[in-house]
Amino acid sequence: MLDALKGRAVPVEQNANAADREAELVARARRDRQAFGAHYDRYLDAIYRYCFVRLGNREAAEDATSLVFTKAIDGLPGYRGGSFRSWLFAIAHNVVVDAHRAARPMEALTAAAGVTDPSPAPEELALDQDNGRAIRALLEGLSPEQREVVELRLAGLTGPEIARVLGKSHAAVRIAQFRGYTRLRALVSGAVKESDGDA
């Protein structure tokens, strides 16, 4: 609706065609190893990085990535068109949520012992920029809702795709991402970390 008002949502037919074409490609992937292999090659790194950022270590990310693609294969018969990337990241999102849920008791113990502080020290930010740790540490400063959206953005998804993955309205995604990036800018510049809630 908003897009239409802004005058950029004209290619409805094109989008429909694109969705049909993607559905056709995925249908082909159900029975054609090469076709699925192409999907895998295309999305592996994005899914892996997303899992890595969400879970924080390589082993967990590899396990989650394996699970995502396994679920994708098993779920192909139920794929009903639309953005394949959205569909795949929705699976990834659920896998990561489940992984967090399974690890929660351990996290609670760690937090209770006071051994971790998610806030990055300034020197860490400077030293760790090469391997992404600094950014991942910064993401810790976001609310869960903001972080979900920003991480999917960093994985390369568009706004409508993120909305589909998270089951939210595009408008809600816009708000969360704007606040998330604004907060990240503040964190980078050393501004005071204040809770700013979400809409």
Partner: protein, 493 residues
Amino acid sequence: MPEDAAKLMRFDDFLDALVGEDSGDTADLDPELVEAARRLHAAPIAASANPGFASTLRRSLLSRMETADVEVPAGSVLRAALMPSTRMRPSGRWWPRAELAAMVLIVAVLVSILAGRDGSRWSPSGPDDGGFVMSPGTPAENTGGATSTAVARSRATEAPPPEECDVEPRSVESLRELSKTLVAGQWWDDAALSLRAEGAPADEVTVNAIAATVRELAGCINANDYLRITALQTDEFVKYGLGEIRIPIDDPEAITYATPGPPVSESDRVAITVDDVEVLSSGRARGRVVIRGSTISNTYVYIFERVGDRWLIDWVSQVENRTPTLTPTDATIRPGDLVFVSDNAVNLRSEPSTSAEVLQVMLAGAPLLVTGDVVERDGVKWLPVKDLTAGTMGYIGSDWVVPATSANNSSATTTATATRVPRFQAGDAVQVTTSGVPLRAEPSIDAEVLRRLAVQTRLVVVGPEIEDGVLVWWPVAVAESGERGYVLDLFLE
């Protein structure tokens, strides 16, 4: 709502463009916010997936996918998929599974038999290949001169009876243990390398020992004894077989019920012979193997590895109708040529070396552009190439590509071109199907990249398609900016 809706939408548009590797419209946005977002997206957030993990997972998934929808009663899987018998017919849903597993030795035999069965009875054919059969009898029988060779040759084409299968069988438990671990990544590399590595003719002792292995293999197939068949294979090859055809290894009864089954009837037995045996620098051996059954004769390249006191089968590659010796194709390939990957799971490496980093695992049919001259290293002829799908530059073994314009397929290409109807016409609105698609100044893969287009960037076709070999280019204009250039057909919809 605390934030201005228009501002939220502009920022959303900007981020959409940013993830599409476009610059995006930043008008009226906070410059500091824009810069922070750009820096955030430009910075590495995590390393790529480990190449070993990626390729292992890929193989596992493709195997799973190939068999995921196959519904075969567990107890019948082994018998149906592995054992050549008169009960098996290419009907029902398990047949694609057998086709898949044609790379696996045992299933290759199955396919051989089924593919050639026409209801007629099998008559063992004579040595009709003119020197093709190479004395595959037992060592004791093949150490003599012309007479013993003739005897051996005669024996070679006989289908060995089940009694000749007396290797100690693997246990069900050992197979279950093997199924718990994935095939070693190094094994894949070694197997692929073994198919094209230079070799030296094997001595007589080696030839005879390998011939004894394949003869016993035929005996075990004729005995319908899966556990003994796997005893003639290396652990890694067994693991590969278990993974590829997804034997229900967790159900011990599936195996115990299925093997050994009743021996195949005498008319359905197979004979297996080997020739052109070469020893490779890795210590492995390679030979051309022919499996004869019923009315057909299929040829394979086998790789053997010495384990203990005998040679075991480590890899099978179906030759089909090609010449058994894998002929390098680089003689006809020049820089600028378009080639296609000729097999699945071929590594694209960062350097012309088998120890170099694997940048990408290529599938058969992937289009590559040759970017330079052949480099010979590690006994392999490497082609510098660019993957036209992902844009990755690297090196690939020349034996694993086929030229797009070779004499073999030129007529097919011509036919395809003549009958193909252009997808678009001037004035059509199209869009880009993936991120980072290059908009080029000229309709050539070597032309300057004017900019990279984001996914779903809207374009307008401004002229007829332009063919460049097997590539098709469209002259387009970017809808929003009017910028003109050329985009490959495969990136448009």
